[in-house]
Symmetry: C2
Subunit: 318 residues, 2 copies
Amino acid sequence: MRFVFRRSLLRYAILGTGAVGGFYGARLQRSGQEVHFLARSDYKAIRSQGLHIKSKDGDFTLPKVYVYDDPKDMPPCDVAIVAFKTTENYLLPKILPPVLKENGVALLLQNGLGSEQEVATFLEPEQIFGGLSFICANRLAPGHIHHLDYGFMTLGAYAPNYAARGISPILEAIGKDFHCAGFAVTLEKDLLLARWKKLVWNIPFNGLSVILNAQTDKMMASPAIRALAEQLMQEVLAGARACGREIPKAFLEDMLEHTAKMIPYKTSMKLDSEAGRPLEVEAIYGNPLRMAKQFGIELPRIEVLYQQLQFLNANLPS
Amino acid sequence: MRFVFRRSLLRYAILGTGAVGGFYGARLQRSGQEVHFLARSDYKAIRSQGLHIKSKDGDFTLPKVYVYDDPKDMPPCDVAIVAFKTTENYLLPKILPPVLKENGVALLLQNGLGSEQEVATFLEPEQIFGGLSFICANRLAPGHIHHLDYGFMTLGAYAPNYAARGISPILEAIGKDFHCAGFAVTLEKDLLLARWKKLVWNIPFNGLSVILNAQTDKMMASPAIRALAEQLMQEVLAGARACGREIPKAFLEDMLEHTAKMIPYKTSMKLDSEAGRPLEVEAIYGNPLRMAKQFGIELPRIEVLYQQLQFLNANLPS
């Protein structure tokens, strides 16, 4: 493997070189993009040994990557992909501006709702994009990532109050780059719709997996929990509808059917909980509930999960 | 301590000599009643060593008690107090009839709703009474019971569909016996109202203590869980109202305030869960939900707890 810089193309920063950021960034670099990785705990290992990807699409190693432990040392980039958890978003005002060129853009590859609104407090709306990744990937060791399954993504542009903004040229360019890196990419004219759609799965299964200490197979095998998951999904649809976004009932049914057939799966929130990391409670529960409430809708079942998860999050075994 | 039989008085059977049955039965016997205890796992210990009560009201021992491991060996009694958990109610059709005199009565000293209706399938409504005990008592060892606090009780008569039946002479007599045994007793004309009132506390705190693995103090210290507890209590009030029973809002507020001040308390459901015993999910959640639904009311937050507890109950660590 040799580096081939195509300087005419976009220069990427990956903020948060964990499983998700490391994997997407490594694939972008392998496809020829210039990529700069911001790492924290894994900085030294990645600097000395590079990135090692074990993937169902083929294993590969990047022996040398541009890696940093301080955003101020990074060159200004066209696109900064935020790939850490929303629980670290308090870092964004400090980390994000130094790595962006003038008019550079941020792509928030994060779960839940609301990250774009946080970034809008210090970047222009035109600089803000959101992404949803559907991927199973774990960090095996510093700089070693295991990509188990999936990898497709949905990207969309942010406008104030999540108004649908259509597809801009820069969004198309980013989409093309991910496509060249081997991912199925959907460009979505309406980022908020995309975010609500992902919540259809995340709201029931992330929270319940932590609360019930269970993987997807065991939950789906319980008629009570299958019914609860469906009721929670219906509340997500009601929340989306309150915000003017219609998700068809068939989408919900597909999700349930797909989940019932999935190999036993530990949700990201369950992994966070087991590792004693903070849970993404606000992004996945608090912000959607508040947005629905702004439009006059209560979602009582989702609120119960939110309240329970706030308690568990505050009482994580450390 | 010597036995003084007052044969003119009611003869009691205690079905289920655990902490609750053992304690109430021992106090009845100490006050002069004739009491016959049905025990299972503790039968041999009680037969050889009697009952040992450690109580904040004074310790005492009954070196000799009438104890049985088979209801068929018991003499016919005027009053059979059912003191085992509702999860064992499938035993009632077999256990209860043999221990009752003709026209003898059953007093279901159990949690939740619905036990009386189960018994009504094989006894006459006039033979059925319900009781609610407010007590902290643990079984320390076979035949050894620790009464930590409280002990007051509410008794009421059953009529088909839980219609209010007023106070009958036999209910008054039982109430007097418990009073003589040192307990504060409330006779309630409307058993269903009494049962819904007890659910105001049991529905939030029993379930959440298991789901969140927490005692009352930790739950009340969390603003999210305090809010959830209040919302659940409001749903209990709505359920009661649907059944034609009005519980004043002040009752709910007293419960919350009282719970916030209580010493850290493990609910009975939490103790069951820790011991790997089945949880009283149907009596405390399923039956009230179904009754409210009959009257056209959905209680979504309570239903979430019910669904979660069904899952946990089916997946108890054994």
